[in-house]
Symmetry: C2
Subunit: 413 residues, 2 copies
């Protein structure tokens, strides 16, 4: 049974470094308090010294929040961005015409302040659905930003984008392309879909690589399908999910496209950044005590492998069993069976970490005490081998706990 | 906005009576203890004085338990059944060749004891996945049945099929067809998918109507799609789900087919029995404190209405909000948005009971205190109007509570 995930196969040609959204050359960022939330930082910004080629992926939710509509329109103009403005506390979702006007106003305010084109500003919001943005507070907040060409406070950016997150999420890697050091860094937020009414997952990636915008968009789409799209906390897809990547070219490499001989190095590095950010979101799932990783191998195609991985990671019964340290393979097998994906019950194998619990359609006689002990780990791996083909996929999630119910049942105050 | 569900429209031409699986003429049933479970009744049987035309629907899970395979094969022979044997405690699922042999043996044992054809016996099992049936105990249990031609103890049948169920589930109705009183009664069990490893939903319906077996199968399929297939406790689909209907013809009506002038009365009565049993399963969901009913109207077709209803009823965030009495319409709207179904965000309306909370894409200014008070009810109705067409559907579920986590995280003992 194949025990190696996709991650380790990609760990080539780049190195992981300490850092985040300001690690790539020419990027500055910070966060501040403008009064949208009660106490915590609630306005984050990021600025590139030069316009960056940009790409974005957005929620599949049909209720798409106003800032997503505006940011999509911005990127569409020149496929470039130079700044990002994020507010937390209010999502500006389900806010109708006024919400759209506010998102455009927010974009214009920052563009005016930074003296850049309107369409070079991405605006994003996360927080309560249905409330209008307090535009006066955002206006005052933007006025407080004085040092956007020099300031490097990624930790404040990371904090200012958080809602129910318990920990901030950053990652950075370096690689060498055309003999130049290329850095890719990022920050993300996300915990549950909404709490009490939150709209949620945001990812921001910056790089000093020079990348053709169409290739960048294709690359982001591809790595998102193997990272942000393979995590689930509760299976709810928010109205505000968005991942943006900005490539400002300051590293001085030749313009990267899919035809560039070192394209795969860039892709591997971007893949790692997105996957690590995604895993951090899964681990910080509301109420979670552990990260659950499901590796599905032996599938005939990637849709099957992903479909089964996501079905297992979203099963409330698997999630509660993991919380209870219960090596309850029946729930995993059951989820495989109702995934709707191609499989042969008589070929399926399931392992909890190193312990094979199910083989060719029947349970093994495994050591339960050993399995329980394994489930005490903070990072649980579930391996599923379908025995039908060569394709694999990995999904990440977390356990379902009393705290998830407590956090989400609490009446809004 | 349409506030009337499909149920009330069907409440015509029949009356609800006190009763269950033995209410129709010629049906006998009881339950006993044979030692599969620690203390509670674990073996249930039902017998019809004459062979009954029969139909069944089965789980979509690709890991289909042995008793389902055997019962399907039995019905296929003559479309007739005369007896049902159910054991609880062990599901006989994921048990390979031996499991299949045991299910056939169980069928043969009861058939021999009742002196009827093997293929007239349906066998069903519910309980722990992966364990083999204790055939010696089942053999001894069958030997204890002495009064199958006279005994009428539906409450013992209902108890003997329970696993984590807190309450037994029965319903019966009467209608008049061809001037004859027709009775339809039923029993069901189901609570969560599996606990600790349980395989779960079973429904049994008996009627003394004379019904053509092909029409009966079509009718069961149709009402199942509007009843058992529209409930969700945790979204997990078990390996053992099965609904059987037996029509023994002892009421003396002319053989019912879809062409019979009173066919719709039979269908309405069968619909009611299945829907009530389904709602009782949803209400008895593991850890549930309330029944949640989602009525989706204004859809362009039934797949859309059902798809949105099921997405809402399965959302962990909607379920925790209902537990917390939080009128958190954002979570409902969000679920509609990610359902993948056809909708227009600007036409959607959402109401919590009588309180309209969302209208044409934006929140209303509703009275929160009134909404919180409404959510204290034990039966919550969520109305969604899509404003696109004339079709509606109803889905049922329950809230997600601390007890759900407690029940499902508890290590098997």
């Amino acid at each position: 049974m194949q025990k190696q995930g996709a991650v380790s196969q990609m760990l080539e040609g780049f190195k992981i470094v300490e850092g985040g959204i300001t690690s790539a050359k020419g990027f500055h960022a910070s966060g501040l308090y403008c009064g949208i939330k009660k106490k915590r930082l609630d306005l984050a910004w990021c600025y590139s010294e030069v316009p960056a080629n940009a790409a974005g992926v957005y929620t599949m939710n049909q209720f798409q929040a106003a800032p997503l509509v505006v940011t999509k329109a911005s990127i569409a103009v020149e496929q470039k961005l130079q700044a990002i403005l994020v507010n937390s506390g209010v999502a500006n979702a389900c806010t109708g015409e006024q919400g759209l006007r506010d998102a455009y106003a927010m974009r214009q305010l920052l563009a005016g302040h930074f003296q850049i084109k309107d369409e070079y500003v991405a605006v994003t919001s996360t927080g309560v659905i249905g409330d209008l943005l307090p535009m006066d507070k955002i206006t005052q907040g933007i006025a407080q930003i004085t040092d956007w060409q020099t300031c490097t406070e990624p930790h404040l950016f990371e904090q200012a984008i958080m809602t129910t997150d318990l920990v901030s999420k950053r990652v950075a890697v370096e690689t060498i392309i055309d003999g130049k050091v290329i850095t890719i860094g990022g920050a993300a937020k996300g915990s549950g879909m909404i709490k009490p009414n939150m709209a949620t997952m945001l990812g921001f990636v910056t790089t000093d690589a020079a990348v053709d915008p169409h290739s960048l968009q294709a690359a982001l789409r591809q790595v998102t399908d193997e990272s942000f799209n393979m995590i689930a906390v509760d299976g709810d897809t928010s109205t505000n999910d968005m991942v943006l990547v900005l490539a400002n070219g300051m590293a001085g490499n030749d313009l990267l496209t899919a035809e560039h001989p070192e394209w795969s190095k860039f892709l591997a590095a971007l893949h790692h950044v997105c996957q690590e950010l995604a895993k951090k979101i899964a681990r910080d799932g509301e109420g979670a005590t552990k990260l659950i990783e499901v590796q599905v191998s032996g599938a005939r195609n990637v849709e099957v492998a992903r479909g089964i991985g996501k079905t297992i990671i979203m099963s409330s019964l698997v999630k509660t069993a993991m919380f209870g340290k219960d090596p309850n393979w029946g729930r995993i097998v059951c989820a495989i069976g109702y995934s709707g994906q191609e499989m042969d019950p008589n070929k399926v194998e399931v392992s909890l970490g190193p312990i094979n619990v199910f083989k060719k359609g029947v349970p093994t006689h495994f050591d339960e005490a050993q399995a329980v002990k394994y489930l005490e780990e903070e990072h649980i791996q579930i391996f599923v081998e379908l025995g039908l083909g060569e394709t694999q996929a990995v999904a990440w999630g977390c356990d379902l706990t009393y705290d998830y119910v407590r956090i989400n049942a609490a009446y809004r105050t």
